[in-house]
């Protein structure tokens, strides 16, 4: 036996070493599903390599800063002028956006939405990489000592970079979004299709799990969906570059990352996120709990007085489509508030024969659809008040059945039923017409 072992000594050692490593792998795989702890060898390796990397990066940036900040200042005055102009332009834009944001907050407060806010970030410098094509990760010069924990989101001003995989004492390992094992919940900005962002062996980024019967255009922006509980919703991820039919029933959507992942120097780690309900409109009177409940619960509409001359009510399938709204109409909507529409708003609703119009409360004794219904859907309302919003200037013709603009959750909204919808003509026009300023009552496309 001894003779046999000594004869095959090399092979025996090879088998023992391989077996030990396979055993170690199996233990790690088993533990990784329960508790991810950092191995000591990782700490040693990182402690051995990263100080040298930090020193080189520090000296590089020192020399670079010295050159750029003290010697190479050509064009700085011109750049300063341009930046001042840019600030002026952004200030004006900020005023407009503040108004939009305030309105969105009011509407979200009404609907009980919760928003995620990035409340604290930590800037960090990239000091190293994994150096392997099989694993795309980077090292940053901030670690658990600075408050970094695993699974924190890492971003740049351009977009999403990745997430913290491991946090050592003074450094952290960040898994990039183009790694094959990474996954980011993403959503297409216009079409609102959700998918999972993954890396490929070639370092590209693809959006998976989008059904092949959907239409996705190259150039569309991709943002985080917030569904992964790591990245806050709405952070830019990239732009769709190519769409092709993929395996099974899904599309193969190639995405160009917004952040240049091959040239990362400084990143931001999101160390704190807050989830809070946006504040309601300033100065709004406090609401009683009963009122809030009444708003959220569907209400039974008052039955209007029977009109013997009224045509028979449509039986089913009636939907309200938000009609295109001009700025003037939006103003009238604003003026009428979220309650019943004013008579002036009612006058807008008379859009002509052949179109089923929803008349407003108080204007006529006819059964009414309250104008509050037009803004019961937060998205529609906010878009309706934005003059330059494309959704407000073109007729809404949903390809698929969508939630009606009138929501039963609003107690000021009278749910649409056959008895209340009184079309102007017995045969209502099936297509919404662009000039209409009020919600139109139409048959949904069959």
């Amino acid at each position: 036996m001894e003779n046999l072992i000594s004869r095959y000594r090399n092979v025996t050692i090879l088998v023992v070493i391989l077996f030990a490593q396979v055993l170690g792998l199996a233990v790690q795989v088993r533990r990784s599903t329960q508790d991810e702890s950092t191995r000591l060898i990782r700490v040693w390796a990182v402690d051995a390599v990263t100080p040298l990397e930090k020193a080189i990066v520090w000296s590089q940036s020192g020399v670079g800063n010295l050159w750029h900040n003290y010697f190479y200042l050509r064009g700085v005055r011109q750049e300063n002028r341009e930046l001042k102009q840019e600030i002026e332009r952004l200030r004006i834009e900020q005023v407009r956006l503040n108004q939009d944001a305030e309105q969105a907050r009011r509407l979200q407060a009404l609907l009980g939405f919760k928003e995620q806010f990035i409340s604290r970030t930590l800037p960090a410098q990239v000091i190293g990489s994994s150096g392997s094509e099989q694993s795309r990760s980077i090292y940053i010069d901030k670690g658990s000592h600075d408050g970094i924990k695993p699974d924190m989101a890492v971003i740049t001003a351009e977009g999403v970079v990745g997430k913290v995989l491991r946090a050592f004492r003074t450094t952290s390992q960040v898994l990039l979004v183009n790694d094959q094992t990474s996954g980011v919940g993403a959503i297409l900005e216009k079409s609102r299709l959700q998918g999972v962002l993954r890396g490929t062996p070639l370092g590209e980024v693809v959006l998976e799990k989008v059904m092949s019967d959907e239409t996705v255009q190259p150039g569309e922006r991709v943002v985080t969906s917030g569904g992964d509980q790591i990245f806050p919703k709405g952070l830019p991820v990239g732009t769709v570059t190519k769409v092709s039919p993929g395996a099974e029933l899904f599309l193969n959507i190639r995405v160009k990352p917004a952040a240049d992942l091959s040239r990362l120097e400084e990143v931001l780690v999101i160390t704190q996120q807050e989830e809070k309900t946006p504040a309601s409109a300033e100065g709004a009177p406090p609401m009683r709990a009963a009122d809030i409940l009444a708003q959220r619960l569907p209400s039974v509409p008052d039955r209007p007085p029977d009109d013997p001359n009224a045509p028979p009510p449509p039986t089913s399938g009636l939907k309200i489509f938000p009609a295109p709204t001009t700025p003037a109409a939006a103003g009238s909507l604003k003026a009428s508030g979220a309650s019943a529409a004013s008579p002036s708003a009612a006058s807008h609703s008379q859009s002509g024969p052949g179109q089923a119009s929803a008349t407003t409360a108080g204007a006529t004794p006819k059964p009414h659809v309250d104008s509050a219904g037009t803004i019961s859907n937060a998205g529609n309302a906010s878009s309706a008040t934005k003059p330059n919003d494309s959704s407000a200037t073109k007729p809404v013709t949903p390809r698929k059945p969508v939630a009606p603009a009138l929501k039963a959750s609003d107690n000021k909204t009278t749910p649409v039923s056959g008895s209340h919808a009184q079309p102007a003509s017995p045969q209502p026009d099936l297509q919404p017409k662009p000039p209409a300023n009020e919600p139109t009552l139409q048959e949904p496309p069959q």
């Binding site: 090879l14 792998l25 990397e53 994994s130 150096g131 094992t181 062996p201």
Partner: protein
């Protein structure tokens, strides 16, 4: 045998060599420790500035070089295991993926070094090309079979990397030859 014909036989890049003919080299302790460490460090640092560099695998080249020069399978596999585990430590994957792959390569390269003359550029190119393929196959087999990672094999990338590493090996091995010491 005609002497001219015998000389032509000697100039074949890879020739069978008897155990008595082969030369076994050793390395000083600083070289044996620092060269792998520097290789791992450069592999982690250079791709940060030059992204294309990630197609190279400097630690693998160092493993092949040491294994072939020492011509001892045990020393080769231990060197491969150590460098592989060090490289694993800097990558997000579980420890042992590169360790196992480089252990196999270290053992294979040293076993081959015992039997073949791999001192010239042509043989070094072919040996590196071959062992890069072995490394990738073992790595993918372990990663997908044992760990369950969702890695995808890409022929263009693997072939490109194999040739790039083989070219770099010819240059790198010529530089590392300076650290060789005859036993």
């Amino acid at each position: 045998m005609n002497p001219r014909y015998r000389n032509r036989l000697n100039s074949v890049p890879i020739t069978y060599t008897s155990n008595e003919q082969i030369e076994v080299y050793r390395f000083s302790l600083p070289a044996a420790i620092l060269v792998p460490l520097i290789a791992v460090f450069l592999q982690a640092f250079i791709p940060l500035r030059f992204h294309f560099f990630s197609i190279f695998d400097l630690p693998l080249l160092v493993v092949i070089f040491f294994a072939v020069a020492r011509r001892s399978p045990v020393a080769g596999l231990l060197t491969g295991a150590a460098i592989g585990l060090l490289q694993d430590s800097l990558i997000g994957h579980p420890l042992g993926l590169f360790g196992i792959a480089k252990t196999v390569v270290g053992y294979g390269a040293s076993s081959l070094g015992v039997k073949l003359d791999v001192e010239n550029a042509g043989s070094r190119f072919l040996v590196t090309l071959f062992f890069y393929g072995v490394h990738e196959i073992v790595y993918f087999a372990v990663a997908r079979g044992l760990v369950g990672l969702t890695l995808q094999w890409s022929w263009p990338r693997e072939l490109g990397s194999a040739f790039a590493n083989a070219f770099l090996a010819v240059i790198l091995f010529a530089l590392l030859d300076r650290f060789k010491q005859r036993t």
